[in-house]
């Protein structure tokens, strides 16, 4: 726990004993414990239950949920925003870290990118779950129909669907391209069906100079391209709300505010995932407290940013005193007070002071406290965005409150289980650590002793100098 910059034996390992390093990093692929089976079993069972409940809902009707007349959107839509939000940090962090050549990035990349892909898959399914007639979802696709009916491109829901699809495809490509050298490595080290599997996936990557060069160009290019997509996706998700005439939603700050919230919850998600990976696959030597420290600093900044955005949103409403909006915000202090308090406490009061302390950031068990609280707080925030605005619509005669039923809870538990399951399967079959990136870093790093201290010093890779200049 006390280890800081890379340890001496790491360098040694990278240079001399490649086999041992490989074994250490791809523990997830090599060793299958009973815990893994148990996890997959539990996640699979919950997912199955969620599916059954979803089918039941589709057969009987949306009436089995807690939705009612003014509150036509609730837990499902809040979860949609939440999951898409969680997806934000993975690819984004990874892309930014790649572009800025952050030296500590390598072990974080793959896990974060995979998180993006799977949260997007889960989030992307929720719009289908929430439909009144799920079996007619293809009406929203621009397919050539003999009736010449096309989807309505003016609807923010369509923009949303397109943005999520683009981001999902982009992230999957990003994840896959970044994985090719590692897949080639796995191909070389495996036998049997796995060998066939990895040979097909590694696209004949042999590690020639030319291939490496192309690989570097491609991953830099994707990193550049994916950042605007990531930012735009959550702006567009926010437009589902901001483009509506609903008091409390119709706010110009929604787009940047959603993006900030998304990155905020996403980084918290990455911290949690990293801690679990570290524990489960004994990656202590790779995922050092340094990584958690850096992620913690990022998280601390995002806490402040989120707090600022929330304050700004309040300020404009307070200054404006539009009676309709004021009623919505008023309900934060009334019926929705528990939700509001959860949000403020979990998103700011707990994490901010904790993340300011180096001791917390450097301890894996302690940093999990603010990370988990942020995830909870952001879920509360999403609920708070969706529900009170609808429950306190323009006409006070129809005001009503909303509470989800077991149906919604089950389906959303199924969604969470789906994420866990996908992630576990991914970790089993694919390199969860960016092996080649880690190796590259170790090769380029030497521990230099200055005075009584060992610091990490990095040799510049050929051609990278221009990017720095």
């Amino acid at each position: 726990m006390s280890a800081e910059a890379p340890r001496a034996d790491d360098h040694h390992l990278a240079r001399t004993d490649e086999a041992e390093m490989f074994e250490r990093l791809s523990r997830s692929n090599l060793v299958t414990t009973w815990r893994w089976y148990l996890g997959v079993g539990v996640a699979g069972a919950v997912l199955l239950w969620g599916l059954i409940v979803f089918l039941y809902m589709a057969m009987v009707g949306m009436g089995v949920t807690g939705y009612n007349k003014p509150v036509f959107w609730g837990l499902y839509e809040a979860s949609l925003v939440f999951w898409i939000g969680l997806s934000h940090s993975g690819t984004l962090i990874s892309a930014i870290l790649r572009l800025t050549h952050a030296t500590w990035r390598a072990p974080v990349l793959r896990g974060a990118e995979a998180m993006t892909a799977f949260t997007l898959m889960v989030g992307g399914l929720i719009p289908i779950v929430h439909l009144g007639r799920n079996w007619r979802v293809y009406y929203a696709l621009p397919y050539p129909s003999s009736r010449e009916l096309w989807p309505n491109m003016r609807s923010p829901l369509m923009w949303d669907a397109m943005a999520i699809t683009t981001y999902l495809l982009g992230s999957l490509t990003f994840l896959y391209v970044g994985m090719i050298p590692d897949l080639a490595l796995l191909r070389d080290k495996s036998a049997g069906w796995r060998r066939k599997f990895y040979s097909a996936l590694s696209l004949g990557f042999r590690g020639t100079h030319e291939q490496w060069r192309r690989y570097h160009v491609a991953s830099t290019l994707f990193a550049i391209l994916i950042i605007p997509i990531a930012v735009s996706v959550h702006s567009i998700v926010s437009w589902d709300f901001a483009m509506a005439k609903t008091p409390g939603w119709h706010s110009t700050i929604f787009a940047p505010y959603f993006v900030v919230g998304a990155i905020f919850s996403g980084i918290a998600g990455v911290v949690i995932v990293m801690a679990i990976l570290r524990k489960a696959f004994r990656l202590e030597s790779v995922l050092t407290p340094l990584h958690f420290d850096n992620l913690g600093k990022l998280l601390c900044t995002m806490t402040l940013l989120w707090g600022y955005f929330y304050f700004t949103e309040f300020l404009t409403v307070w200054y404006n005193r539009n009676p309709e909006e004021w009623e919505v915000f008023g309900s934060y202090g009334g019926h929705y007070l528990p939700l509001f308090l959860t949000m403020v406490i979990c998103n700011f009061v707990i994490p901010f002071p904790m993340l300011c302390l180096k001791r917390v950031r450097r301890s894996i068990s302690l940093i999990l406290v603010p990370a988990c609280s942020i995830v909870i707080g952001m879920y509360a925030e999403r609920l708070l965005i969706v529900i009170p605005s609808l429950a306190r619509r323009n006409d006070p005669f129809i005001w009503a409150n909303y509470f989800p039923t077991w149906v919604e809870f089950s389906v959303m538990a199924g969604a969470a289980a789906m994420f866990v399951l996908l992630y576990m399967l991914f970790a089993k079959f694919f390199p969860i650590m960016a092996i080649s990136d880690i190796k590259e870093r170790l090769f380029h790093t030497t521990g230099r002793t200055i005075g009584g201290m060992t610091v990490e010093s990095i040799a510049q890779v050929e051609g990278e100098g221009e990017a720095h200049a």
Partner: protein
């Protein structure tokens, strides 16, 4: 001829009796959802009578405000539907294609008047209620959005009759169920494109106002303000 259907609601005359709601339910095959569902705030009425209280207890007075779909000229509900299930028809009405609706419910969230209703279940008409279903209209399945259409079936019927008789539609040919039933005659329906219709005359009334006009939805339903004073 192009029509501009509109409705005037005279709040001075409305007594809040709810006859319009019942008439609408009968005319448009709207299911009766029962007590438990109603308790969950899922009433499916296409027109509702809002009741607000004015003043404190001993002097409290009820104010009634019947609310059908406003048939907005710039309908926010139409804009957000991903599949064009709700659209502006040739008469400038906000129409609904139930078969096309996939139930995103976004239109309901965007309707500032909250007059759209959702089919939470497949409702059943027990015998002998099934005998009273109107054959002019579909019975909607679960998972779709529905709403007031100014009794579009009656408008169509009137147009057909007029065409058969080789004449233009006359003022008073179309009367929606709610307007037909309203005992004090608070609801008036007609064609604004016809300069001599009763509604054109009525809407010159200085008491006219429209709900939430500041939102720019340009509702087709116009209210006439209640007058206060002696004897009221």
């Amino acid at each position: 001829m192009k029509h501009t259907w509109a409705m005037a609601i005279d709040l001075d005359r409305c007594t809040g009796c709810g006859a319009c709601v019942v008439a609408c339910n009968a005319e448009n095959n709207i299911p009766t959802i029962g007590e438990t569902e109603a308790g969950k705030n899922r009433l499916m009425h296409w027109i509702r009578v809002n009741r607000y209280w004015e003043g404190e207890f001993p002097e409290a007075q009820a104010v009634y405000l019947p609310m059908p779909c406003m048939q907005c000229e710039r309908a926010p509900c139409e804009l957000v539907c991903p599949v064009y299930a709700t659209y502006h028809n040739e008469d400038g009405l906000n129409a609904m294609v139930y078969n096309r609706c996939i139930g995103t419910r976004y239109c309901a969230n965007n309707c500032p008047y909250s007059v759209r209703v959702f089919n939470w279940y497949d409702y059943k008409w027990e015998k002998p209620l099934d005998e009273q279903l109107s054959p002019d209209l579909t019975v909607r399945s679960r998972g779709v959005m529905e709403k007031c259409t100014f009794c579009i079936q009656r408008i169509r019927r009137a147009k057909e009759t007029a065409a058969e008789e080789g004449r233009e539609i006359r003022d008073g040919d179309v009367v929606p169920a709610c307007a037909q039933t309203c005992p004090p005659g608070a609801l008036l329906f007609g064609d604004l494109a016809d300069p001599h219709s009763e509604i054109t005359r009525k809407l010159k009334d200085p008491r006219r106002f429209r709900l939430m006009e500041h939102l720019g939805t340009e509702p087709r339903v116009v209210y006439l303000k209640r007058q206060k004073g002696a004897g009221r």
